[in-house]
Amino acid sequence: MTYLPVDENGLITPQQVAEAIRPNTILITIRFANNEIGTIQPIAEIGKLVREKGIYFHTDAVQAIGNIAINVKDMNIDLMSMSAHKFYGPKGVGGLYIRKGVKLVSFMHGGAQERGRRASTENIAAIVGFGKAIELATANLDEYNKKIMALRDRTIDEVMKNIPFVKLNGHREKRLPGNANFSFQFIEGESLLLMLDMKGIAASSGSACTSGSLDPSHVLLAIGLPHEIAHGSLRLTFGDDNTDEDVNKLLEVLPVIVERLREMSPLYENVKRGNVNV
């Protein structure tokens, strides 16, 4: 197993993939887009070169599908994982796209369901929900994205302009339409979330998968943030129901909360005295 490191924006390059291929490589799997920092990988370019080498190409597109346009044929994707709850479908149902001709060995035995690929009775209601949800999510994708990208871009631009000692995590352009992720120096993420929550704003600092952990996000560490800055991260996700008013409110309360927490922080004292390198 070879793991590829990412750059400071969370990106890998097709060259990295090409150079990592060995004679016995049978599968390459790249996550389409990152859940925390929103960075979208160059899947089409990677798919092309992987196909030319005759290796299977899998992508975990759970964060991407229903949010950005994906064409498995054009992108030379052989296998693609999906989950309905990421595009307003029911929780507990997902899917695996399998390109015609790709043969998989079943890992759940005891029944011939799904043509022998996965034993056990199908959850039909959830599957129908998956189908309807992806239909709705992709029907007006361009229009939907235009709307939430405007909310996201205004948020990113204003936060970067109005709050000092802040860093945008993830690539500025190659990112999921609804994702914004910041690190605010000298403060800690949970405090930020609690104060936002008290103002009626739901956000997160890492991913739900790691909310029980006290360590900073492994994603933020992987893009090179030091621990103390990774601790002060805020992940905002914009969706269908968000409005301009929501962004107005966020932009009104966020700078006040950040300043309030910084006033409380011993790390900020030195900055105010002007004797620290930041």
Binding site: F186, I187, E188, G189, E190, S191, L194, M195, M198, S211, G212, L214, P216, P226, H227, E228, H231, E263, M264, S265, P266, L267, E269
Partner: protein
């Protein structure tokens, strides 16, 4: 989930700030672990007359800082040294298990500030300087007693 008292001390922390010419200053934790607590004490005739804090950390870290400043004021130096992490947590109606290390930090901040006071005043015994020096995150998360039970497991 935090208790109402924790949220109150987090949203309205008591005694935030610095004391000019403090008699004792203690700073514990480190930025890498995600929490730093700095405590300032004003001590007159061996009695703590004022306490202030600055904290970088989670909700529980801020709340335990706030509570411990309330607990130490009016106490003698020796009484303040008897304040345990458990007492701080109990005064806040409990902390979630994963956040108990924050109360260790509060206890250590009090000790460090008093140690600093003693050092400045030539009162420090040889063996007093035990607990409050640079720990690793793991130490803070795993030592002291963690039997404190909280119904809410998140």
């Amino acid at each position: 989930m935090y208790s109402e008292k924790v949220m109150d001390h987090f949203m309205n922390p008591r005694n935030v700030g610095e004391i000019e010419n403090a008699d004792g200053i203690g700073e514990v934790g480190n930025a890498k672990c995600g929490d730093i607590m700095k405590m300032y004490l004003k001590i007159e005739n061996n009695i703590i007359v004022d306490a202030k804090f600055k904290t970088f950390g989670c909700g529980a870290a801020v709340a335990t800082s706030s509570m411990s400043t309330e607990l130490v004021v009016g106490k003698t130096v020796d009484e303040a040294l008897q304040i345990t992490n458990k007492a701080v947590a109990e005064a806040l109606d409990g902390l979630p298990p994963a956040k108990m290390h924050c109360s260790n930090l509060a206890e250590e901040a009090i000790r460090a500030a008093i140690e600093d006071y003693k050092r400045k005043n030539g009162l420090l015994d040889e063996c007093d300087c035990a607990t409050a020096c640079g720990r690793r995150c793991d130490d803070i998360h795993h030592d002291h007693d963690h039997e404190f039970n909280e119904d809410d497991e998140e």
